[in-house]
């Protein structure tokens, strides 16, 4: 019998010319990032724009840390959406559950790589974290809860959620059959197994949601509890991190869902109702974050001490003003667009996607503005104003990380169904093969 894998649903196992080109381009960017990183390892962090605060008038945390926060923020969407679908029984959102879970896993991996890019001696940093991390430090939480716990929990969720589809695909002969059989691990989709999965997923969702809030808050505490750093020390940092994480994650999920809708030609599964829900969720998160921005702005400009005002001035009218106002505009405009759609109840998918893209640009800008200006303009010691400009090495590594993330996503899409597979689809495909194969 001829073995044909192209009958797998959603284009799994089938690579056309366009996919090869895409993978080639992404690989090229990954190689560029690796080359830049090799320069950084060989020469040291002198090849980056990062310098000591104060004495060298620079910033020790730059683009890498901004993207650590961004990537971890993006990971918010996956498990949140997956958990909400499970807990609130949002059946119509099921098609985006797996892509959201994959987004979470990949974003957390990229976040971990960004941390490694930031430290001068990565192997030593990893070993020392495992040996010496102190529970009192928010870095402990970032390391244990965000990177380890959250990533592991997401992998477990993704694995268990995929067993049913793996079992279905394992019925179809092909090169990937063994892989699906291993993933399914004996799953046969009996009523008892289904019930057990429902129960396990429910409790996983219950366990993951507080972990998610704790993890994102912990990352906010890394900045928020530094009393000696004007611009960072704020009770709003932790909840602000959670909210902006939601904004960027849901925004990116919208963009990915729209791309897959087009590429896989699945307008029925990824229906306008899915985008409507995501748009409303994004709108609520965006307006909540905008409220935080306004509160922060009023607090720091009304009667703050001198150093706090210095940071605010750099943000509002100084060298970071263009980025600050652009980021704010990229939050306000999507909110207005989404709000107008909500009021009129006339939703436009391209506009929702545009909003998702804009809020992500805003999130990157805001992460940069949280990390850098407080170091260059927020020192309490009598040093002059500092400056920080990323070099090509930093840009290349970040670009390489984005390419790696996209590459991992593309490979997953080609290895495993990115959406839940209807049983009829597989049965028809398998039957077709048997007939064709004789």
């Amino acid at each position: 019998m001829t073995v044909r894998t192209e009958r797998l649903p959603y284009g799994v196992g089938r690579l056309t010319g366009g996919w090869y080109v895409l993978i080639g381009v992404l690989l090229a960017f990954v190689v560029l990032g690796l080359y830049a990183y090799s320069r950084q390892l060989a020469v040291g962090e002198a090849v980056t724009g990062m310098r000591d605060i104060g004495t060298m008038g620079g910033a020790t945390w730059g683009l890498y840390v901004a993207f650590v926060v961004y990537f971890v923020g993006v990971s918010f969407a996956g498990i949140t959406v997956a958990a909400l679908i499970r807990l609130m029984n949002l059946e119509f959102l099921k098609p985006i559950a797996r892509m959201a879970e994959v987004l979470t896993v990949i974003a957390l991996i990229l976040g971990a790589f960004s941390i490694l890019a930031d430290v001068g001696r990565p192997l030593r940093a990893i070993l020392n974290l495992f040996r010496y991390a102190r529970p009192q430090s928010p870095f402990f939480g970032t390391f244990t809860l965000v990177i380890s716990g959250y990533l592991f929990a997401s992998l477990v969720y993704l694995y268990l959620d995929g067993r049913r589809d793996a079992a279905l695909l394992a019925r179809i002969p092909g090169k990937l059959q063994g892989f699906y059989r291993a993933w399914a691990a004996g799953y046969r989709d009996t009523p008892a197994e289904r019930e057990r999965h429902e129960r396990a997923s429910f409790w996983l969702a219950i366990a993951i949601l507080p972990l998610l809030v704790t993890a994102h808050s912990t990352l906010g505490f890394v900045f928020g509890i530094q009393v000696g750093r004007p611009g960072w020390f704020s009770a709003l940092q932790a909840p602000g991190f959670v909210l902006l994480a939601g904004v960027s994650g849901v925004g990116l999920l919208i963009v990915i869902a729209a791309i897959l809708r087009k590429v896989l030609n699945v307008p029925d599964q990824l229906s306008p109702q899915v985008f409507r829900w995501l748009a409303n969720f994004l709108m609520v998160l965006t307006v909540a974050y905008l409220y935080f921005v306004i509160v922060e702005l009023l607090t720091t400009t009304y009667a703050a001490h001198y150093h706090e005002v210095e940071v605010s001035r750099a943000l509002l009218v100084g060298e970071y003003a263009w980025l600050y106002w652009a980021s704010l505009a990229f939050l306000v405009v999507p909110f207005l667009v989404l709000f107008a759609q909500f009021i009129t109840q006339r939703y436009n998918i391209p506009l929702i996607v545009l909003s998702g893209m804009l809020v992500n640009l805003a999130a990157i800008g805001k992460r940069y503005l949280i990390v850098v200006p407080s170091q260059t303009h927020g020192t309490l010691l009598p040093y002059g104003t500092g400056a920080y400009a990323p070099t090509w090495v930093e840009y290349s590594i970040v670009l390489g990380l984005f390419a790696l993330g996209a590459l991992l996503f593309v490979l997953f899409v080609k290895l495993f169904p990115i959406m839940e597979v209807p049983e009829t689809l597989v049965s028809e495909g398998a039957a077709q093969q048997v007939i064709e194969g004789g």
């Binding site: 495992f130 040996r131 010496y132 991390a133 380890s148 716990g149 057990r196």
Partner: protein
């Protein structure tokens, strides 16, 4: 058996987290000596992570372990 093992993993996992966080890692309190900087047991953070991993691994055990008699 399956439920027992699952619950055991959850309890042990949380136990490891609590013990490593409060009793094995660097002591809580005002850091008045170098003893506050180092963990009381080497790799205490690793034990905490192991605890987190065990708690979530319980879900895998619960789903993968077959029913008695199967």
């Amino acid at each position: 058996m399956r439920t027992t093992l699952t619950l055991l993993l959850i309890v042990v996992g949380f136990g490891l987290q609590v013990v490593s966080y409060f009793f094995l890692a660097a002591p809580w309190g005002i850091p008045s000596s170098p003893a506050y900087s180092n963990p009381r047991v080497p790799f205490a953070p690793t034990i905490f992570i192991l605890g987190v991993v065990l708690v979530f691994l319980a879900a895998v055990v619960y789903e993968l372990l077959p029913e008695r008699g199967q």
